[in-house]
Symmetry: C4
Subunit: 223 residues, 4 copies
């Protein structure tokens, strides 16, 4: 148990460096969490600590209502949203939140990113949808995430006027979704600056998504 | 006293690397200063020295009229503006100036950045306002900064046709404001390229700002 | 023979770092391959392995139908397209595939990049053409690449709604074409955002291309 | 004499890293040269050699007609243009050429960058002008640079459909001009994407330029 938590502390701390590497975050905005499998616990970034200073030791262990179980710092101010997702989506093992530029630009207009790239069909299987405007401080953000992604293929939701939340079977998959979300939000934005991207037929989106989710990558440890 | 100044020399030298890291500056443009608490003194970057060569030792100690007290180089050519701010805003402990791309692009149009992102409501609590066109060489720039920010929640001002000045309780807070200013100036720019970002209700801006300024981050040493 | 393959394993592994350096790829998207000269074999990236973890040893050796000859991982999911190109273009020694942002943005609109820069005339000798929309899983992508580039000066093709494939006499030349493709796709995009780039006369494009392909660089080992 | 040349070899090799650092070049495009003071000689980058492999030793020494005096490689294919500038502008000690994205985007439209930023007034003192379309291979490019910059305050010229050439009293000043040229070309581009940047009165441009060229930086070793 304690070994699992130690591993997750290291993994969550390290995955924040992927947010930095891909330019998804500035200063201390943005956070990654992981569910502790089989426990009502999650591991998350401390609030207001810079990415250079994140270590396995200063990650925060919380229960699934966001109460600190172990840790010297306050947890990310987005912990309530992460916790809500874990409580309502038992299939989710990782959650990521960023204000990455292009995804947030779509979110600021309240406009979903249309699925006009084969890589988007692969990873998202559909448009990247818009969630409601929601204030921090209660369950509004978490509920907006869960309700928007419910029954949706996309592991990413653009919260209106705010930024992105992504989910995954583990923290690494959620980080991958955050990286890919910004990448396709940027490419589709750039494409639309000079005209309309061509649509992809729904049947082709379906075929691409099915193949990617079932065939791509190394087996058995896909991703 | 001398220990405090030594610490500030190191802090100011190091904080310039944050300007580099976040791409806010090229060559030698841009500068950070810190007030020496309880003294009529400030620590600032030397003029025309490259970011690679900044050390605690070559930072310049000036009085609050921009006269050099200690230092082998000339101080930043923006020292008069920094000094003016410290003379007229006793609550300010740090000042930053950059020509960061997106903020300067709004400044070149003389157009404030509208508050259409929750992260902007958090950090700026309002639009990022425009200050007057002012020439270097007397108190015009400093006065423009102070008059524009007087009674404004925003710690950043876009000086018309010029660039950004930010203030903070210390140099680190002013650097954070400069980083966030460019980040939101970029996101709102990108969003507006393809339509109009949705407004956020004033009451929601007020709520977000109050919460962020009073609750966010680690206590007691919040951000 | 085995020495040649070892050299190609190292070269292909290393060249992936150029894709990272020039920002052409995120996560595990994008791949480089090289033909084994004189053999019906190619060396290619493993599928779904991150760029940090690529080594000469984990590159995959395949035959020219994409069957693994040597390697512990599955080969890139784009291997069939690479293999098709090698089978039908005996002059090609290297193939690269990316979803680089600006090239993919043109591809998403199905619009070729017009030849309006002397550097484009040098390297591409013409517009960068659009290939058909094609699904992964059979020879459609490979055939689309070969048919589009047949008799075309450009070593790059923008596959509709997908991304870029480039070819070269060896893997390094194909990587160079991928880097230059994104560079000119970006510059022409940016130029067109504020008006129409000036055309270059066909005779000048011809002169520039002839000179560059025959005179530029170090001799005898050009590029 | 030989010591001076050794110093210039090192300086020119090192300054190419500034082109890389500021993202002005990809692959092997772009080059820096320096005049050997008091001699009819220049030091320049070899052709088609990657930036990682540039060393003081592989820099090329040429006469002012571009003939190699010392060096194992061919000199940059732009050597004739550099040499022409040195022959006709005895005040010039350094020349830089790049295809940097935003400057080249203005060049592709044949449109000068208007002087709408105080930093542009400082460094360029005017718009950044457009030079003629000119083919490589004779003196056309060199002549276009010299004729365009003759009597112009700007140390940068945008060669139509091509890229940027900058000049300076030494190679470092020319590199600074190339860095600042891309920076202001980008900021003015971004500003114009959402409206018209405000003009700066000519008298203010004159004042800013005079002050910057005569007062800014460290004395006596300005820059």
């Amino acid at each position: 148990m304690s070994d699992t938590i130690d591993l997750l502390r290291r993994q969550v701390a390290d995955l924040h460096q992927e947010l930095v590497r891909y330019g998804l975050v500035v200063w201390t905005a943005g956070n990654v969490s992981a569910r502790v499998p089989g426990e009502d616990l999650l591991v998350i970034k401390p609030s207001g600590v810079s990415y250079d200073e994140l270590t396995p030791e200063n990650m925060i262990l919380c229960d699934l209502h966001g109460n600190v179980v172990e840790g010297e710092h306050a947890p990310s101010s987005d912990t309530a949203a992460h916790a809500y997702v874990y409580r309502h989506r038992p299939d989710v093992g990782g959650v990521v939140h960023t204000h990455s530029t292009y995804a947030s630009a779509w979110a600021a207009r309240g406009e979903p990113v249309p699925c006009v790239l084969t890589a988007m069909a692969d990873e998202f299987g559909a448009e990247i949808p818009i969630g409601p405007f929601a204030l921090i401080g209660d369950d509004s953000i978490g509920r907006g995430i869960v309700e928007t992604l419910d029954g949706h293929r996309s592991p990413a939701v653009l919260m209106k006027s705010h930024g992105v939340f992504t989910i995954g079977k583990d923290a690494r998959a959620a980080v991958k979704a955050a990286v890919m979300c910004e990448d396709v939000a940027r490419t589709v934005h750039v494409s639309r600056q000079l005209g309309e991207p061509l649509p992809i037929a729904q049947a082709d989106i379906d075929r691409l998504n099915f193949r990617y989710q079932n065939v791509y990558g190394q087996r058995p440890a896909a991703q």
